[in-house]
């Protein structure tokens, strides 16, 4: 009964005209950037973060969350029509989606992707709604050692799932922690690594770093080569899947939703991994696996459901523990903090309007996406035709204004350009940005909880091993860190599909 009451509060917040507007803007822009290769949800969220400063915290989070799940929807459109995944999570959709389009079945492919995403998105919100309250109640009992070790575990899983070399990903995480700690010491207000620059007293901003690493550097990489996009010219007709299509897809959607939701809760690339695993499962359970890769509709429905369900799951650690499981959620945590809201176990009690408002807005956002995606597919195809030479100055313009609007400081523009160069070089030298950003956000929280734990235990490190959850987290983290040394486990790690965040 309580749940229904809370959901009532949520809908009363989400249905306010201003929040509906922000929700619409979020899902619209999300779909747009999902369609456009070269800019992903993280870049778009950091670009639009400044536009939310004048709004209420709930409107801001509703819009930013909309960008995230909207991008997952949009990503499938390019996979099906152009064979270019807009997002890493839509890579698998290319396999059968594009084949369906080539066979003149682009309509049903797009339709089932949209419906699959809608159903999975809705199911995952239901899961989030049911799981978040009990988890929050448990999380209230966590102390600094649990928080510290959970963050170590989260960061380790992300590093484990990073592309290529693990030591390189760990170096990036270490750099992220150092950058995150720049500024005044939260305990004794002593300036650290500020190089006597007044601008660094409050630390380096999240927005200039993210925009540099994911916005500017992406433009630089794309400028290297002449980008050519061949659009598969086809008439899209009959978006509504047939009864046969539905019969073939329903099982795939349900399995994909469950898989995506539970994998989404784990740190790292829930959306990407779940879409790949879902494809593998569908191929295995199918009565005609030979059709996969040649236009099997289950190969579109399953992964699309999985990647959308994962977005709902990813909210659980953020909203109940205050620990972001991936870079997108780290951006959302940054947005919460800018608006003076601390996500975590107490959020549901202290800010029920925001907590349930955001959840309710996702139901509405999913309906908006369904309405948006089906009739507007023609428009998205046109958007794909915008040449990059027109697009890149506009992306740069948005980055520049966006970063300046956050703090009204030209210094931040320089920081963004610097991290644009750093991000570009990182790509050249095969280093990944995601561990850096997550560590940047978690760094101060980790330090705080580590110092508190040591003060609590009077300098005794056994505090991390005598408390069950802390010990379990550390043991899993340690296992993941040493696993690449064991050849069998290293091979297993290399087989896991990896997240690519832009």
């Amino acid at each position: 009964m309580d749940l229904l009451n809370y959901l009532g509060i949520g809908f009363s917040v989400a249905l306010q005209p201003v929040n509906l507007f922000y929700c619409f803007v979020g899902v619209f822009i999300g779909t747009l950037i999902g369609v456009l290769p070269g800019i992903g949800p993280v870049g778009a969220m950091s670009l639009l973060l400044p536009t939310t400063f004048k709004s209420t915290p709930e409107a801001a989070i509703i819009m930013l969350a909309g960008i995230y799940y909207g991008a997952m929807y949009g990503g499938s459109t390019t996979s099906i029509l152009v064979n270019i995944p807009g997002e890493a999570a839509s890579v698998v959709t290319c396999l059968d989606g594009y084949q369906m389009a080539r066979q003149g079945r682009a309509g049903p492919a797009l339709g089932i992707a949209a419906f699959g995403s809608f159903i999975a998105g809705t199911l995952s919100i239901l899961g989030l709604m049911l799981l978040a309250p009990p988890l929050s109640r448990i999380a209230i009992q966590f102390g600094p050692p649990e928080y510290f070790t959970l963050m170590v575990l989260g960061l380790t899983i992300l590093i484990y799932l990073a592309h290529g070399s693990m030591p390189k990903a760990l170096i990036m995480a270490a750099l992220g922690i150092v950058l995150g700690l720049i500024g005044l010491d939260s305990i004794n207000a002593r300036p650290r690594f500020t190089f006597e620059r007044l601008e660094l007293i409050d630390g380096v901003g999240l927005v200039p770093i993210v925009m540099g690493l994911f916005g500017i550097s992406e433009v630089l990489v794309n400028l290297e080569q002449v980008i050519r996009r061949d659009i598969f010219e086809t008439k899209i007709k009959g978006l509504l899947p047939s009864v046969k299509d539905w019969r073939e897809s329903l099982g795939a959607m349900t399995r994909g939703s469950l898989l995506g939701f539970f994998l989404g809760i784990l740190p790292g690339g829930g959306a990407v991994i779940s879409s790949f695993i879902s494809y593998a499962i569908e191929k295995r359970v199918s009565k005609h696996p030979e059709k996969f890769g040649k236009g099997a509709i289950e190969g579109v429905a399953g992964p699309e459901a999985a990647n959308n369900a994962a977005t709902g799951g990813a909210f659980i650690p953020l909203l109940t523990l205050g620990i972001p499981p991936n870079v997108v959620m780290a951006m959302l945590l940054g947005a919460f903090m800018i608006h003076g809201v601390q996500p975590g176990p107490l959020m549901m009690k202290q800010n029920p309007g925001i907590f349930w408002g955001v959840i309710a807005s996702m139901y509405i956002g999913n309906i908006m996406l369904l309405v948006l995606n089906l009739p507007l597919i023609g428009m998205w195809v046109q958007v794909l035709k915008v040449p990059y030479k027109i697009l890149f100055p506009l992306i740069l313009l948005f980055c520049l204004i966006g970063v300046y609007s956050v703090s009204n400081a030209v210094f931040d523009i320089y920081i963004m350009i610097l991290f644009g160069i750093v991000g570009y070089l990182m790509k050249k030298f095969d280093y990944e940005g995601a561990p850096l950003v997550l560590a940047f956000v978690l760094g101060p929280l980790m330090e705080n909880n580590l110092r508190k734990s040591l003060i609590m235990s009077q300098g005794d490190f056994s505090i991390f091993f005598t408390r069950p959850l802390a010990a379990a987290s550390l043991i899993i983290a340690l296992f993941l860190l040493v696993s690449p040394i064991i050849p069998y486990l290293r091979k297993k790690r290399e087989e896991i599909p990896k997240e690519e965040v832009t």
Binding site: F53, I171, I187, R192, I216, E224, K389, P393, I401, S405
Partner: protein, 151 residues
């Protein structure tokens, strides 16, 4: 790959040392009461160790094949450097020239010099994009964009 990893690991090695030194300088404190530099120092130690691991692995790698390197291939360096220079210059003159003038000039440069397009389109694109951005950020969202010497 070998050269890239050696170069990058040496850079991180130096950075790791720098962070360790900075942390030590900030005071490590004691385990009972960790100081401001405690976390920096240990993260620096980890960074140094990892850089050494990458370095050792890179040294053991087979030599790179000819023609594979960072500065070779068909990378359009001039374009990348000109965009970066334009962005730095933009930041430098931003408050003096003001948002509108500096942004129109920047966009004109990006539309015309980096990826050449017709003058009419470049001018129109630069002016319309700037004014739209001004309308959204300054007038609607109330950002404080600089007016410059004209304002």
């Amino acid at each position: 790959m070998k050269k890239k990893d050696i170069l990058s690991s040496l850079f991180w090695l130096a950075t790791g040392f720098g962070v360790c030194y900075g942390g030590y300088d900030l005071e490590l404190g004691t385990l009972r009461d960790p100081g401001s530099g405690f976390m920096f120092f240990w993260v620096g130690v980890i960074m140094t160790g990892l850089s050494l691991a990458v370095l050792v692995k890179a040294i053991r790698m087979k030599p790179d094949q000819k023609g594979v390197g960072l500065l070779r291939g068909e990378v359009r360096w001039a374009k990348i450097l000109s965009v970066l220079a334009a962005l730095v210059l933009y930041a430098y003159v931003f408050t003096y020239l003001g948002f509108i003038l500096s942004t129109v000039l920047l966009l004109l440069f990006l539309f015309k010099a980096v990826e050449p397009q017709k003058w009419s389109w470049a001018v129109m694109g630069a002016v319309i994009s700037t004014l739209t951005a001004y309308g959204v950020f300054q007038l609607w969202l109330g950002s404080q964009l600089p007016r410059g010497f004209l304002g």
